[in-house]
């Protein structure tokens, strides 16, 4: 069922798809970090009993986050075509796919950040308020450093989710490993491609998990 010679002949295609996957994940991850981190912090600090307590903001952002998260990714992918077209100018290819991937990953990562921040002992936050620190100092020197390890684990989870989502993006012509798996492995009953793409994804996820965990551990000073 696995034709090695054929596999070797397909290597350039696999490599191209792999690069596309990395492009999608790279773009979507960068955007979700840049927007998701502040959003997660905002969700946390506007909560009850915290220094920027604000029910209105908390509820509005909380609602939007839940809204996006409740839409199945495959639907979101299609629903965001107009937005994608507006931003990228096309709905096909890895760059186009990264728009939907980002929209899906932002609220996911924001929630992970929020829950990481919740793990911080309230006493530490209170002690630094008692010191007379400004809210900005609290965020920069207390919240982020204290939640750092847990946030890194959140990044790992987000990347792994992005790998899974990026495979789905293949369905609508997003390119990448998933696209290869669907076009060859699924539509053409090409077992060799199917097995190799799944194997690549398995290895990729294992490596991401391993690297993320190693990194998280290495920066934890507790």
């Amino acid at each position: 069922m696995f034709d090695f010679a054929y596999f070797v002949s397909m290597l350039p295609d696999i490599w191209k798809a792999f690069k596309e996957t990395l492009t999608m994940i790279g773009i979507a991850l960068s955007i979700s970090l840049v927007i998701g981190l502040p959003l997660g912090i905002l969700l946390f600090v506007t909560d009850k009993g915290l220094f920027w307590e604000n029910r209105l903001i908390k509820n509005i952002f909380g609602f939007v986050v839940n809204l996006v998260r409740s839409i199945p990714f495959i639907i979101l992918l299609v629903a965001l075509f107009p937005l994608t077209k507006l931003i990228v100018g096309s709905t096909i290819g890895p760059v186009a796919a990264s728009v939907s991937l980002s929209v899906a990953a932002i609220p996911y990562f924001a929630r992970l950040v929020e829950s990481s921040l919740r793990e911080i002992d309230k006493g530490v936050i209170e002690a630094t308020i008692a010191v007379g620190a400004t809210p900005w100092m609290l965020i920069k020197d207390v919240l982020i450093p204290e939640a750092r390890t847990s946030i890194i684990r959140g990044v790992t989870l987000t990347v792994i989710s992005l790998v899974a989502y990026s495979a789905m993006a293949g369905v609508v012509g997003g390119g990448g490993i998933g696209d290869l798996a669907i076009r060859f492995g699924y539509y053409r009953y090409d077992n060799t491609i199917m097995v190799s793409t799944v194997a690549i994804l398995i290895i990729l996820v294992q490596l991401i998990q391993l690297a993320g965990e190693q990194f998280a551990k290495s920066i934890d000073k507790r």
Binding site: D121, V124, T128, V131, G132, E146, T149
Partner: protein, 336 residues
């Protein structure tokens, strides 16, 4: 000077109100080491947290040198907090920052110029005896060392008040003592007013000069530690005092007691032994010690003796009168 004026704190939960602090007024003078004692739930922690407004009182005022903190804007409150240090039972250090960075954090909060931070951090760490731990993370320190970092952080901006929230309750007795000595040194050398809350009477006895006892959100008794140790008025105060100065006399012994049992208190310089032996010589009474101790509170001796006085009723009365005349405080006790 720190003043609480009619402070009340009411916690509102869904269907009931819980009174945390009930109309407390207290004045704490500059240079005091003031102990607030009570069981958990007595409201002492809430009261302490009202000083730097970690908790806002439902009503009443907190005045520091005449300034009402409850009226300050949030940025001015932050500035006021720079001058109120606080340490905690569980230390609450930033675990991902080194000892030096934790202390520097407080300095940066006060916008200390960068070039001054380093030397001030060294100075503070030297004061608390942790110079060699500057680049170590809190996770590698013992409880006592963590509390020393907490103290260095709290003192960073030369506060006028230091609040101690059960600061020694998580420490072993030996470490507790060393932390208390450090606090005392800070009080003496820097003239910082210390307000501490605790459920351990030993702590109060060791370092406080004035104290208040809280029960159900109210202050039930307050005054100089020495006076309260000598003559506690409220039952709860007596209970707390008994935890460190206890006079349990075995019932076996009490059974054989025929005479009058009296409790004699010698405050300060009154020479206890002299008074008692003089009394025995002058009057036709025989004394028998059942219990006794001399406690040193605030470096002043406090002698407390329980004895049985045997003799005629008149003689016993005269003997008691004589002892009182010599400066002793005598109390006739029915049961011990």
């Amino acid at each position: 000077m720190l003043e609480f004026q009619n402070i009340s704190k009411i916690y509102q939960s869904k269907n009931k109100q819980v009174v945390g602090v009930d109309n407390v007024s207290l004045t704490i003078h500059k240079g005091d080491i003031f102990g607030i004692v009570g069981y958990s739930g007595a409201g002492k922690s809430s009261l302490l947290r009202c000083v730097n407004l970690l908790e806002r009182p439902t009503s009443g005022k907190v005045l520091i040198d005449g300034v009402d903190l409850t009226k300050l804007s949030s940025s001015r409150l932050r500035t006021a907090r720079l001058k109120i240090g606080m340490i905690f039972q569980h230390f609450y250090l930033i675990s991902q920052k080194t000892v030096g960075e934790n202390v520097a954090f407080a300095l940066r909060a006060a916008k200390t110029p960068k070039d001054k931070i380093e030397s001030r951090v060294n100075e503070l760490l030297e004061m608390v005896g942790l110079t060699d731990k500057k680049d170590v993370y809190p996770g590698q320190l013992s409880g006592g060392q963590k509390q020393r970092v907490g103290i260095a952080r709290a003192l960073a901006n030369n506060p006028s008040i230091l609040l101690c929230d059960e600061a020694t309750s998580a420490l072993d007795p030996k470490t507790t003592l060393s932390i208390l000595r450090l606090l005392k040194k800070i009080n003496k050398q820097l003239g910082i007013t210390i307000v501490l809350i605790t459920h351990e009477m030993d702590v109060v006895k060791e370092i406080c000069n004035r104290m208040a006892i809280m029960q159900d959100g109210r202050v039930i008794e307050e005054g100089h530690v020495y006076d309260i140790f000598a003559q506690p008025k409220e039952p709860l105060t007596q209970e707390f005092i008994n935890s460190v100065v206890s006079f349990d006399i075995p019932s076996e012994i009490l059974k054989d007691v025929k005479g009058q049992i009296i409790k004699i208190l010698f405050k300060g310089e009154v020479a206890g032994e002299g008074v008692i032996s003089d009394t025995m010589q002058r009057f036709d009474v025989k004394g028998n010690f059942l219990h006794g101790t001399i406690e040193y509170i605030q470096e002043r001796p406090l002698g407390i003796f329980i004895m049985e006085l045997k003799g005629g009723q008149a003689a016993v009365k005269e003997a008691i009168g004589y002892m009182e005349q010599r400066g002793a405080i005598v109390e006739v006790v029915e049961s011990v």
